[in-house]
């Protein structure tokens, strides 16, 4: 590799990852002062284990992320299937745009509009009684769905439709064709979409803050309020774990998205 290109690349990568590296390194710092290095220790990871607030929030976040991902995969797949397989229905362009919109919508706006919706339905039909886990999950589904739809759509576009016809020709009714042929072949895209939705939900602070209520604080919300009270190495440890989890999710999503059964 030529030297100039190497330098440029190093600068770019440093810019991206230096903060994260610093964070990871300091999470193993023995000193309670964030900026003074006093030797290696895992005490902050131990402290984390005893922080009830954080653990409760972490489990809540994981639960929301899992439910969100599962429902988003079902709905996103249906949307993608419709868009790819019925290319000439009325209003297709509009629908395509609408499915993709949450990808580019500022989170603040998504959050705000969902909050307004929940407030409105509460006064109209009395639901939701109070905002919390349910509203956060619904809010996450609305934007995760769009990401899943995009991932699954990409897989469906390259799907050889004669496979479905062959299955039908051999006597499988349409629903059986879907479960025996279509679904197994697009499964990697579904898993990839699931991981993506899971990660997005785990990450989200802004939208969750808008639609959450008392007693339902997700992990990012708790972290954010802790940080406002002051930096602590404990946060670094937590963040490191988070980075690990998210990285695994993304890498998994990418790898599965790339793997395609040859036909």
């Amino acid at each position: 590799m030529n030297v100039r290109r190497f330098t440029a690349l190093s600068f770019g990568l440093a810019f991206l990852y230096l903060p994260i590296v610093a964070l990871v390194v300091y999470s193993f710092n023995a000193s309670p002062r964030v900026t003074v290095w006093q030797g290696f220790s895992t005490r902050w990871y131990e402290a984390l284990l005893h922080n009830e607030e954080l653990i409760t929030a972490a489990f809540l976040s994981l639960r929301i992320a899992a439910i969100n991902a599962t429902i988003a995969v079902v709905l996103g797949t249906l949307a993608a299937y419709t868009l790819v397989r019925y290319p000439r229905f009325r209003g297709r362009t509009l629908f395509t745009g609408m499915v993709a919109a949450p990808l580019v919508m500022p989170e603040v706006i998504t959050g705000l509009s969902l909050l307004l919706l929940f407030v409105a339905t509460q006064s109209l039909i009395g639901w939701p009684e109070s905002r919390g886990v349910a509203t956060i999950t619904i809010a996450h589904i609305t934007f995760s769905l769009a990401f899943v739809a995009v991932v699954v759509q990409a897989r469906l576009v390259s799907f050889d439709e004669s496979l479905e016809e062959a299955a039908q020709d051999l006597g499988a009714p349409p629903w059986r064709v879907f479960f025996l042929v279509t679904l197994p072949i697009i499964a990697p895209a579904l898993v990839s979409g699931w991981l993506l939705a899971f990660t997005l939900s785990l990450d989200d602070l802004v939208i969750a803050s808008f639609v959450s209520g008392p007693g339902a604080s997700t992990l990012p919300m708790v972290v954010f309020s802790m940080v406002r009270r002051g930096l602590s190495p404990e946060i670094n440890a937590l963040a490191t774990l988070f980075i690990g989890a998210v990285t695994l999710g993304i890498v998994g999503a990418v790898l599965l998205g790339r793997r395609s059964p040859r036909s």
Partner: protein
């Protein structure tokens, strides 16, 4: 009279403005090996898909075994299709692929297993049942697709360009295999192809398609020797078309004045009215090339412009006085390399009265 196993009853299929299948009326009998032959985009695949149930006719009816199946969905029709791309399920083993059709019918496991084995033996793939489609060669995949389509013992097997993806040698070998298998299972085969040699060697009957219509059906021999119009004559093999006008009719002996060549041609076993404008379709191998003037009544003089050596025979292109070029094929009866005639040599072309046919349109 028995019902034809397949009957297209005045079927038309339009895609928007495109008429893919145009008023096709076709009957296919039990046990036939029927080939649909035609150029690209003439509607062959669409016709098969109408029969398989993937397309609905715009008008007309499709009958299988005398039963109207126009409104029956694909999964309930007693026909199976072998796809041009083979469409093997990539996530299933060869065995599972072949067993798929029987599983849909809910047959007992033991019976499925024996029939899968039997089908794999039929296509000579015994022992490869555990492989995935991507671990097979092109020819093996083709045979898996065939086994999968045959295993339900359909009334009709549809094959869309079954040999197109194979190389020439494998194609020829597989042609014979297809014929053997059809013989063994006794199922009606309908095969789509754009390769006329393939159609001729495989089929018991050929339907020639053009622009959505079936222009002629007949045995390979009928199609080749007595084409009903210029298109069929020209599409199947090579042909010399001599345009002319009928000047005399004596029973089945017709005399055609071919003005461009300045000769009268006598055609036997023909029927035409005096003054009809038509053409004589004459296959190159029916023409004899000679240096001395022959005694045959149908003859024309010209100059050899080209000789193509094909091994078993030579193609000789001869330019007549009018500038028209006629093609003749001469068998190479001797190993002697020096032919009796050479480039730019003056030669005679002649043919018997029964060797050509009149085509109209």
């Amino acid at each position: 009279m028995t019902e034809p196993v397949v009957h297209f009853d005045r079927v038309t299929k339009r895609f928007g403005d495109v008429v893919a299948v145009d008023d096709v009326d076709l009957e296919i009998e039990e046990g036939e090996f029927f080939a649909l032959l035609g150029g690209s985009g003439c509607g062959k695949t669409t016709l098969l898909r109408l029969l398989a149930g993937f397309e609905r006719p715009t008008s007309g009816r499709v009958l299988i075994g005398g039963e109207d199946v126009t409104d029956v969905p694909a999964h309930r029709r007693p026909v199976n299709m072998m796809f041009q791309s083979y469409a093997l399920f990539p996530h299933m083993s060869v065995e599972k692929n072949v067993a798929f059709g029987l599983k849909q019918d809910g047959l007992p496991k033991a019976e499925i297993a024996t029939r899968v084995e039997e089908a794999l033996r039929l296509v000579e793939l015994t022992g490869l049942g555990g492989r995935r489609p991507d671990q097979l060669s092109g020819g093996q995949r083709q045979r898996v697709a065939l086994a999968r389509a045959l295993i339900k013992r359909p009334r009709v097997l549809l094959l869309d360009e079954p040999l197109a993806a194979l190389d020439k040698r494998l194609r020829e070998q597989t042609q014979f295999e297809l014929m053997r298998i059809q013989d063994e299972v006794g199922i009606t085969f309908i095969v789509v192809t754009h390769d006329q040699e393939e159609a001729m060697s495989l089929a018991t009957r050929i339907g020639v398609m053009r622009a959505g219509r079936i222009v002629q059906t007949g045995t390979p021999r009928e199609i080749y020797e007595t084409p009903q119009n210029r298109f069929v004559a020209d599409f199947i093999g090579s042909v010399n078309l001599l345009d002319g006008r009928v000047v005399a009719v004596d029973g089945t002996r017709v005399t055609l004045a071919v003005d461009r060549l300045g000769i009268n041609v006598i055609v036997d076993e023909a029927s035409a009215e005096v003054d009809t404008v038509c053409a004589l379709a004459l296959r190159p191998e029916k023409i004899v090339v000679s240096i001395d003037e022959p005694t045959a009544p149908n003859r024309v003089e010209g100059i050899v412009k080209e000789i193509g050596y094909l091994g078993a025979s030579c193609i000789v292109r001869v330019r007549t006085g009018s500038g028209d070029v006629l093609q003749a094929v001469q068998p190479n009866r001797q190993r002697d390399l020096s032919l009796a005639f050479e480039w730019d040599q003056r030669v005679w072309l002649s043919w018997s009265e029964a060797s050509g046919v009149l085509v109209f349109e």
